[in-house]
Amino acid sequence: MLEVEGVSKRFGGFVAVDAVSLTVAKKQIAAVIGPNGAGKSTFFNLITGHLRPDAGRVVLEGRDITAAPPHRICRMGMGRSFQRTNIFPQLTVFENVQAAYIAHRGRGTNFWASSAALYRDETTALLQQVGLADKANEAASALSHGNQKQVELGIALACDPEILLLDEPTAGMSAAETRDSIKLLQHLAEKFGLTLLFTEHDMEVVFSIAEKIMVLHQGRVIAEGTPDEVQRNAEVRRIYLGERK
C-alpha cells in the first residue's frame, strides 16, 4: 500500500529524518512513535508532499509520489489529519465536509450552479458516521476541541481515502474523548476498509490499536515490529519508555 524508502530531510545542519523506511500493508493499522522532536511530523510531511525529501522515495500503491504536490497526493487516495486542529473555522460543520466532497470530486470548477444542495446526502450521512449529525449547522470554530477533531476526520474521510495519515489524532483530548475517538477510528477503519498510519504519544492508544509500530529517535528508526516486539526492545525501553539503567 504505502512504501517509504530511505527518506531523509535536513534543515540546515540538523538531520530531522535520516534514511527512514517504512512499509504499510493494505488495511494495516500502523503507528509511528517517538519522543518530542524525533521527526514524526517531518516524516509525515515528507510522505504527504508538504516537504520535499532530500533523498529517498515515497510510493503509494505502486505510484511514485515523492514530492508530488499535496493536492495531487490527496486525489490519489491519501487523507490526512493534522496535529494542530486544521479545519475551516468560519464555515459550518456541514460546509466543512461538503467542501471536501466538492474539492475532492473536482466540482470546484463549476462557478454557475448553486452549491447549497450539492452532496447534501453524502455529507449528512458522513456527519452521522463521525457523530456530528446534530451539529451540522454550527460554526466549526464554536465547537469543542474534540468535536473539531471529528470535523477534521470528516473532512479527511470525504476525500475517499484508501489510507489515512493521522498526526496525533488525540492530541489535547481528555481521557474520555481519547477513548471515544479511538473507538470511532477503529470502527471507521473497519467500515471503510482503511489503512491507517498515525503518530501518537499516548502509549495506551498506540498499544491498544496498532498492529505495527515504528519507533523514531533523533530522526532514525530504532525499532520496528509488532507491539510486543517493540515493547520488549531494550533500546526502546531505555530511551522511550523511560526505563533507566
Binding site: P70, N86, Q90, R107, A113
Partner: protein, 324 residues
C-alpha cells in the same frame, strides 16, 4: 436543511427596483450621486471576491478598473465602436491583464502578494501616465461619448429624461446583472472552494484543491468585474485619467469594503453608499474630509469590526433571538 429565509430573498432585484425612481426625485444631483454609488459599489464588490471570499488582500485593484475604463473609452472615442461591445471588451481586457499579473501574484502570499499587486498597478499607472499617443498621458482621454441612447425614447417615462438620467438606467441595469452573476459565483461550488482557501489554505490543499489555480481564477474574475465597473465609470465621468490607476484609487474599494463589512456579500455595496454619501455631506461642511474619514475608520475597526452590515446582522440576530 433548508436555506434561511434571508438568503432566498432576491436582494439584487429588490435593490434594483428601489433604485429605479431616483431620476424622478427631481434633482440632477441625486442621479449623479446614485450613478456614482452604483458603479463604484460594483468596483468594491468585485474586490470583495478576493478580500472577503478568498482571503486575498490586494492593494492594486485600480489597475483592472483603469484598464477597463481605458479600453472602453478608446474603443468608443477613437474607433467609434458601439457601447455594449466596448463595455464587454473592457471587462475582457481587464480579465486578461488580471490573468497575466495574477499568474505572478498568486505565487506569493500575504503581504508579499499585496505588494506585488500594488507594484503591477503602479506599472499600469505609469504606462497610462506616459504613453501619450494612446492614453493621452497626463491629460487622459477627455470627452468620452455617452452610449447611443436614442432607442430609449420609445420607453414610457424614461424616454423624456436627460441623457445622464438615461445613462443612470443603463449603468443600473448592467451593474444589477453583474451583481447577479457575482452572487451566483459566490454561492457556487467554485465560491465554496474559495471560502475554503480563505479559511485554511494548507488544509485546502489536502482536500485536493490546487490553491494557486483557484486563487488565479478568483483574481481574474474579480479583475473582470473591476474592469466592467471602470468602463462604466469612464463614461459617467466623461473622461478617463491616469489617476484611475493610481494607488489611492485602489484604497477606495478597500475602504468601502471594510466600512460595509467584508463578511457579507452586500457589505461593499453598503460601504460604497456610506462612503460616497458621507463624502458628499461632510465636504459641504468642512474641508477636512480625510480627517473625518480616518476617524470613522478607526471607530469602525475598533468598535464594529464587522462593518456596517456585520454589525446590523449581529443586531438583527440578537433582536430576533435566534441562532443562524
Amino acid at each position: 436543511m433548508t436555506r434561511p429565509l434571508i438568503n432566498r430573498i432576491p436582494w439584487t432585484l429588490i435593490v434594483f427596483l428601489v433604485l429605479l425612481p431616483v431620476p424622478f426625485l427631481g434633482s440632477r444631483f441625486y442621479t449623479f450621486v446614485a450613478t456614482d454609488i452604483v458603479i463604484l459599489s460594483l468596483f468594491a464588490t468585485s474586490l470583495n471576491l478576493l478580500l472577503g471570499t478568498t482571503g486575498l488582500v490586494t492593494f492594486g485593484h485600480a489597475a483592472y478598473f483603469s484598464i477597463g475604463a481605458y479600453t472602453t473609452a478608446l474603443l468608443m472615442k477613437n474607433l467609434g465602436f458601439p457601447f455594449l461591445p466596448s463595455w464587454i471588451a473592457g471587462g475582457l481586457m481587464a480579465a486578461g491583464f488580471a490573468l497575466v499579473f495574477g499568474f505572478f501574484c498568486v505565487r506569493l502570499t500575504k503581504i508579499y502578494f499585496a505588494m506585488l499587486t500594488l507594484a503591477f498597478a503602479q506599472i499600469v499607472w505609469a504606462i497610462c501616465f506616459k504613453w501619450n499617443d494612446v492614453t493621452g498621458g497626463e491629460q487622459g482621454l477627455p470627452n468620452v461619448p455617452y452610449p447611443g441612447l436614442d432607442w430609449m425614447e420609445v420607453l414610457p417615462l424614461i424616454g423624456d429624461l436627460r441623457v445622464s438620467d438615461k445613462f443612470y438606467y443603463v449603468a443600473l441595469a448592467l451593474v444589477a446583472l453583474c451583481y447577479a452573476a457575482l452572487r451566483r459565483i459566490t454561492l457556487s461550488p467554485f465560491g465554496r472552494v474559495l471560502t475554503v482557501i480563505r479559511d485554511n489554505p494548507e488544509r485546502a490543499q489536502f482536500i485536493g484543491v490546487n490553491v494557486r489555480l483557484y486563487e488565479l481564477a478568483a483574481f481574474m474574475v474579480s479583475g473582470a468585474f473591476a474592469g466592467l465597473s471602470g468602463a462604466l465609470f469612464g463614461i459617467f465621468n466623461r473622461g478617463v485619467f491616469p489617476d484611475f490607476a493610481f494607488w489611492t484609487k485602489s484604497a477606495e474599494p478597500l475602504i468601502m469594503t471594510i466600512l460595509g463589512g467584508m463578511a457579507h456579500f452586500w457589505g461593499p455595496a453598503v460601504g460604497a453608499a456610506a462612503l460616497i454619501l458621507l463624502n458628499q455631506q461632510i465636504t459641504s461642511y468642512t474641508e477636512y474630509w480625510p480627517f473625518v474619514l480616518g476617524g470613522v475608520l478607526i471607530v469602525l475597526l475598533f468598535v464594529f469590526p464587522g462593518g456596517i452590515v456585520g454589525t446590523l446582522t449581529k443586531l438583527g440576530r440578537r433582536i430576533g433571538g435566534r441562532d443562524a
